[in-house]
């Protein structure tokens, strides 16, 4: 019986040890995840600032090149497009870094809106003929997930298309409510294709058709 108690104690210690290793690993990965997301977001932020500075410079001194500006903002939107799903996914796995993720999500949201605005402006002023899609999604909704997959294919395979994803349920910034009211968005998934609202799941063909008609 004494040996049994010793076996139980050792089993408990070993289990507790594995648990502690799991927690430490979880904490370490949490930090790694938020650091990685922050690093990428900071880079995107710098690129955005650089782009805006470029805009201001050429507005002031002349010699504006629409092709270069278009390529830069296209790259920026792609960077953000790749980063978005990871921030959302990382936040779901978050254990100890809630405040960091709140900051990251807000920052990401603002950058998406800003880039979308800049891109729309550039599209109009330079006649870039780019299709811009504002995509309202719910990370917990399987239809949104499926819609996201269609948009992934479109972004990957269409040169003249950019998607800006916005979490419909993100409630930390009043700007989201303002955008939702502006476009009349009440459900997910909702797409704003070249300013035209399309509610519910939309097929690839339908998106291409709307985008083509609204060029």
């Amino acid at each position: 019986m004494v040996e049994h108690k010793s076996l139980l104690a050792k089993a408990f210690i070993l289990t507790a040890l594995i648990f502690v290793i799991g927690v430490i690993l979880g904490f370490y990965l949490d930090s790694l995840r938020s650091d990685e997301a922050l690093f990428n977001l900071r880079n995107s932020e710098l690129d955005a600032q650089s782009y805006l500075s470029e805009q201001e410079f050429f507005e002031e001194f002349g010699g504006y090149d629409c092709t270069i500006a278009g390529k830069r903002i296209d790259d920026l939107s792609k960077q953000l497009g790749e980063l978005g799903p990871y921030i959302v996914n990382f936040e779901r796995k978050n254990l100890f870094k809630q405040e960091d993720y709140e900051y990251l999500l807000r920052k990401y949201f603002l950058m998406e809106v800003r880039t979308y605005t800049q891109f729309t402006k550039l599209n109009r002023e330079c006649g870039l003929n780019k299709t811009l899609i504002l995509y309202f999604f719910d990370p917990e909704d399987s239809v949104s997930e499926r819609q996201g997959k269609i948009l992934d294919v479109l972004v990957r395979e269409s040169i003249g298309l950019s998607v800006f994803s916005i979490n419909f349920n993100y409630g930390e910034d009043p700007l989201l409510e303002a955008i939702k009211i502006y476009y009349g968005v009440n459900e997910t998934p909702t797409l704003i294709i070249q300013g035209k609202k399309v509610e519910g799941f939309t097929s690839l063909e339908k998106i291409e058709e709307i985008a083509g008609a609204n060029q």
Binding site: L7, A11, F19, R33, E157
Partner: protein, 401 residues
């Protein structure tokens, strides 16, 4: 849900760590009997014409003084040629009875036996030559009331048979560990030996029980006796080769476990019954609970995943295949290590246990595909059987052998 899963996984790991340590616990020394005692091997048989001759022959071939070996075959009202075949053997006593079941046949043999020790052997089984000599010395410990042999599956033919080949190796290993901490609570029908005096004094086998082998082991423990295993003694059984017959057999075992669990409920959490009462019995229940919960959870998740994939294929059509891409390395960062760590370690420990089980059974790794499939199916199959059995017990469906 995630928190509950984490708790259950760590509880499983705790139980696994306990048993893994028992691998390194030394067996208590086995004394030597001065002389070979007289033993009776009872073979209950009902319509066993196809295998009874082989079973009797294997007992007759046992390396044991012939004048100390009594063989009794109890024919339980067979309608085939079982009786004629048995009658053809010299030195084998044939007792016939109206069909009354295996336990009644064993009790009949017990009443008519002359041996100091009494063994039962299923009529579709056989034993290795040295099986008896290897295990009999365990009875030098007066507290030992029963010694069982390790069971292997005889020539598995189907995938289901091969699954069981692996399962029986693990069972023999697990029983060795239970034996070391005196919590072995099973005396199966393949060459389990009993001290006759004890067996008779506790009332013999329960004739109304569908798992009389489990019931008698529990009763022996309840009366303060020990049950041991000798892994060098090997018996072979013909395991069910079809899924339906396997389910039927396992359902009987599970329902027998539930019935006897209630019958001996006072032994659970009871210090009087040592490790069996305070640890083994409650942990078995807990393990079954965890197994069923995780299996249902996994099936739910897999179904959800497959339904989503199906909808994706329907909705996205050819796009589905265009979506497949190598995941970004950042994917590694999203794994839940608190949950996966006990699963990975537990799986590694299970593989180590199997390696040790194979060594103990002196077997090479056979049927590797069946082994991999066994690892995948084990939890789901047992959960299915247990859920069926629990449902039938709740519905009070008739218990049949």
């Amino acid at each position: 849900m995630a928190l509950l899963l984490i708790i259950l996984m760590y509880l499983s790991l705790f139980i696994t760590f306990y048993w893994i340590q028992v691998i390194f616990v030394k067996d208590s020394k086995i004394g030597k009997l001065k002389t070979f005692p007289k033993v009776t091997v009872a073979i209950p048989a009902y319509n066993e014409e196809s295998g009874i001759a082989q079973t009797i022959s294997s007992v007759l071939s046992l390396d044991y003084p012939k004048n100390k070996l009594e063989i009794i075959v109890v024919d339980d009202g067979s309608t085939d040629k079982t009786r004629e075949i048995v009658a053809g053997f010299k030195n084998v006593r044939l007792i016939t009875q109206r069909q009354a079941g295996k336990a009644a046949a064993l009790n009949n043999a017990l009443r008519n036996s002359n041996g100091e020790f009494f063994a039962c052997l299923d009529a579709d089984s056989r034993v290795e030559k040295d099986a008896l000599k290897n295990l009999i010395h365990h009875f030098s410990d007066k507290e030992v009331a029963s010694v069982i042999a390790a069971i292997k599956v005889e020539k598995p033919e189907t995938l289901w048979g091969k699954f069981q080949w692996h399962e029986y190796l693990m069972s023999a290993f697990a029983r060795r560990l239970m034996s070391r901490v005196n919590s072995l609570n099973m005396t199966p029908g393949v060459f389990s030996f009993y001290r006759k005096e004890v067996l008779s004094s506790v009332g013999g086998f329960d004739e109304k029980n569908i798992t009389e082998d489990f019931e008698i082991a529990m009763r022996l423990h309840k009366n303060g006796y020990k049950v041991k295993i000798e892994n060098k003694s090997v018996g072979y059984t013909n395991a069910p080769q079809k899924f339906s017959s396997l389910v039927k057999q396992r359902e009987r075992w599970a329902r027998g476990y539930i019935y006897n669990g209630f019958k001996y409920k006072e032994m659970f959490f009871n210090k009087k019954y040592g490790i069996l009462g305070t640890f083994h019995l409650p942990v078995t229940l807990l393990t079954l609970g965890i197994l069923m919960f995780t299996s249902i959870f996994t099936i739910f998740k897999l179904t959800n995943f497959m339904l989503n994939a199906l909808f994706d294929i329907i909705e996205l059509k050819t796009l589905f295949f265009r979506l497949i891409e190598i995941p970004n390395w950042l994917f590694i960062l999203t794994l839940d290590y608190i949950l996966y760590l006990p699963i990975i370690i537990g799986f590694g420990l299970a593989l180590y246990s199997f390696y040790k089980a194979r060594g103990l059974a002196r077997e090479k790794l056979r049927y590797p595909f069946a082994f991999i499939a066994y690892l995948a199916y084990f939890g789901f199959f047992h959960s299915y059987v247990w859920l069926r059995s629990i449902t039938k017990e709740i519905a009070k469906a008739k218990r049949i052998w």
